[in-house]
Symmetry: C2
């Protein structure tokens, strides 16, 4: 008895392309002797399909694609396929999130998802009705504990707060099964593979049954799926761990022992590989672009973004542009030039002074009598934004936005300026982690691809003479520590002060800055999600609002 | 026995401000002899609070605010207050969406919301656990059928598809009640008052009980609440209809007959008033701006936006800027000037040629050998965008984005150019309705506030010589008819062709354009929602996706 794990990378909505991929993987699995092949949750439609699920035409097309696949798949192969199917009942949401068992040209059985994640980036109760009951899917005498993604996550160890009344894992185990099969579209976050591993180990130890997890791989807009499909033995030990961030087909002989050792994980390498996959899939799945374009400031964010783009697309498909102003340091151009040379990419230098001077002259009348300030600084950033978008529009280049999560958090960005782009590569990476990524990139290359000077110089937006980020912001190690506790751990002022010892007024000020810059983030490009709480579709806050925490007695602002 | 309807305009998250307002309305109600005063759903926190509800500090602050209110409210007045309260149970979502009955200094009873809208702009299952059962709230011997918003909407006439198993209205009626009380945060859409009226009439006729609806009024970011609070007699007839788009307090004597006749509704006037309220509340509730700023092109969209801004804020708080280029028609300036004069607003003229020429010179090297096209057109739009944002940043003006729903639908806009702004006033108004609004504005003023020439000239982006919108788009009556059926009625090519008789290839092309411009809409400012399906938070589609409908045999594109 052989079971194949088909860790595929589907494109959202691409029913013909995804069907071809499923057929290809199924045939290869059959060729390798598999009796049953398992595809991920929503493998036919890609995840997340979002409001495509509200379109009757889309759902009809999905049902036709399932029928065609059932006809085309090897008839003697069992196939578990994730897809949305209509809820035939008269009440409830219109769809089920289904794991279909297909064999002999037709759907033999199905398990529907019970626990519908409706938090963070997930909106499943927007579309799906929960399964009314848990039941065993029997196939060739084997009792399968078949379930979908979140169904395995209602576990005291995994969730400190019980979100759901039902516990499908316990219910399936109580019904008597031979093995668990979980099909998932479980997005990547740094360290998530450890959580998955611990959870499945615990389930196996509790119930004494083997566990198969098949997860999607690939990126769809914001969400990156790492794969990390796996087989655990009845005692919880790992039999097979699929490589992350790439497609994989593995045929597991239920009677055999452990397979090849999994590739070791490293959080920084995972982060790097996730972002590379995110860029590559945005680029290739949209299919709309000739090359990627990066504005190079000589700073660390644009350098890391550019290096990731080269890792994703190759140097011949990445173009760098440096746009110095009168406030730019000499390193702005020379470090950008060195980076471009190190990466082997095309490089342009376009000084922005002519347009900046033109804007200042155009506005001289309206601005008469005012002192230069943020308005003038933003003109520079927006002039660069216009320049990059002009090149993007002219040559069908994908502009990559280079801002990091720390800047986005406190609004240290210029809307319609440095935020411009199709995808924000580092928007879920704190500044201190951008530095770690830079070192990782250089270590991996065995040479200083990212110039030493870019890494060592004090960060600056270079929008006025001798500007430094620390003129406006606390040091990044302080800022990032506070932001991590506020945004990712959901802590408030007291708890953050207790954990960090930082000044209370400083902490409150940072939290206020985050809240007040919601309007900027609402208009930023989609960003690649690599933590459990990214800005974007998974974090929804009102723009017009007046919630604030109690004032703090003034005290000297310290780091 | 007197019951007061307190149709208040709360600000999201403003617990002190909303509490003061609630106290003020409650005291006024008491002064007018009320025994019971009813506030809207989430009246204490404003709707929608979104992920503020995920913050323990916010929920704790809400509970403290409820306790303080209970102490401060007149002790002999019954108060029904909408607020989130913790779900004390061990499973399920952390909160209930509650209608609290407060009297004598404490919470006496509560009804929790059963039906949690999780579709379109609503994400209630993200936060709230449904009420486990329906029960009657008894107060001074009166059996109240107290329920929250959506709880009244599970009705065959209202929803062609039954979304929920529970039907709170039927269950409450079966339990035996004296009257229904519904507290709502039900957003405006053109014509929605008719739907509410018909639904409540039907409920009264079926169950023979009076019905009180108290709805929020005011705008919070995208959502505009019209109020439209009402009392219906047991036979369904209207006893009182509150004015829309403003706060209102009405004391209903349960033994008295019909009150004053409601103000008559007119769809166009409602649309106008909703948009005015949307601008005013964005401006005043953020409290961050000195004035509103509108870029005036001489065209209809910017003229209508500007007139609405003046209606919302007064002429002294609106500034118009015209930014002609070498492709601008003479009317671009003269019509803008006439509009500004008619409205009595400050007006600036800033020709954009210097910056456009600078950009073209800066890009001459990179663009060498290419023909002028969209890239060059977008430079003009973005130069205007930079100019307006510079003025906005310099003087703390709120830039109003002027694009309409038709343009946003098919991507006939320049990202980081004419889409710039804090709020998109007309983003949910089709171009043909913008014309209707223009006539309405002039009719209301009794003079041509919006110049005749602005209304009659063919629409043009004026980004190249003699450009007309119809160079790129079908006539707006055709385009809007298709868009309305696709976006608002969720129809596909076949059904749209059947209804309109338009060319199949043209219809398919329009639908494709809508799908392909998701990336532009994702980065547009929040827009004021005035239909049942606006772009923005209520319409969630993937950017990276390949869903498409079957190709159509080529045929001449006709209107």
């Amino acid at each position: 008895m052989k079971l194949a794990l088909a860790q595929i990378n589907p494109t959202v909505g691409d029913l013909p392309g995804n069907s071809r991929k499923i057929l290809d993987f199924a045939r290869r699995a059959r060729d390798q002797g598999a009796d049953l092949v398992v595809f991920p949750e929503m493998g036919l439609v890609g995840y997340p399909p979002l409001d495509l699920l509200d379109r009757p035409a889309f759902i009809e097309a999905v049902q036709r694609a399932i029928e065609r696949l059932a006809q085309a798949l090897p008839p003697d192969l069992g196939v578990i396929l994730g897809a949305p199917v209509p809820n035939g009942g008269k009440v409830g949401k219109r769809l089920f999130n289904a794991a279909l068992l297909i064999e002999g040209g037709r759907i033999q059985d199905a398990a529907y998802k019970t626990l519908l994640p409706t938090y963070d980036v997930f909106d499943e109760y927007r579309y799906f009705e929960p399964a009314p009951r848990r039941r065993v899917v029997t196939w060739r005498g084997l009792r399968l504990g078949l379930h979908v993604c979140e169904d395995m996550w209602n576990n005291e160890d995994a969730a400190p707060y019980h979100l759901y009344e039902a516990n499908p894992i316990d219910e399936l185990a109580a019904l008597g099964i031979d093995l668990f099969i979980n099909i998932s579209a479980s997005p990547f976050a740094v360290g998530k593979h450890r959580t998955r591993n611990a959870l499945i180990e615990a389930i196996c130890r509790e119930h004494g049954r083997p566990f198969v997890l098949v997860n999607q791989v690939g990126a769809n807009t914001e969400l990156i799926f790492d794969g990390d499909s796996r087989v655990h033995a009845a005692d919880g030990s790992l039999i097979y761990g699929a490589p992350s961030f790439e497609e994989d087909l593995y045929v597991w002989d239920l009677d055999a022992g452990p397979g090849p050792s999994p590739r070791p994980h490293d959080d920084l390498a995972d982060l790097h590989d996730a972002l590379v996959l995110g860029i590559r899939d945005y680029f290739t799945k949209t299919g709309a672009f000739q090359k990627a374009l990066v504005g190079l400031s000589g700073g660390i964010d644009s350098a890391v973004t550019c290096a990731l783009a080269v890792a994703a697309l190759g140097p011949e498909r990445v173009v760098g542009v440096t746009m110095p102003s009168k406030y730019s340091s000499p390193g702005s151009v020379s470090d950008s030039e060195a980076l471009a040379r190190n990466l082997g990419i095309a490089f342009h230098e376009i000084p922005i002074e002519p347009a900046v001077a033109a804007f200042e002259a155009m506005l001289a009348g309206v601005f008469a009598g005012t002192a230069p300030g943020v308005a003038e600084e933003n003109i520079q950033s927006r002039t660069r934004g216009v320049t990059l978008m002009a090149i993007s529009n002219k040559f069908d280049y994908l502009l990559l936005s280079t801002g990091n999560k720390s800047e986005a958090a406190v609004g240290y960005v210029t809307l319609y300026g440095d935020t411009n782009g199709g995808v924000a590569v580092l928007s879920d990476v704190f500044k201190t982690d951008v530095y770690r990524l830079a070192h990782h990139i250089n270590d991996r290359a065995g040479r200083a691809v990212i110039p030493e000077n870019t890494i060592t110089k004090p960060p600056s937006a270079e929008l006025r003479p001798d500007q430094k980020d620390t003129d406006s912001l606390p040091p990044y190690d302080v800022l990032d520590a506070v932001l991590r506790l506020y945004i990712e751990a959901h802590l408030e002022v007291d708890a953050i002060v207790a954990q960090t010892g930082f000044d209370r007024a400083l902490v409150r000020h940072i939290l206020q800055q985050v809240d007040r810059n919601e309007y900027k983030r609402r208009q930023m490009p989609p960003g690649l999600r690599v933590t459990n709480k990214a800005f974007g579709i998974g974090r929804r806050l009102p723009i017009v609002m007046r919630w604030d925490r109690p004032a703090v007695a003034p005290s000297p602002v310290t780091g």
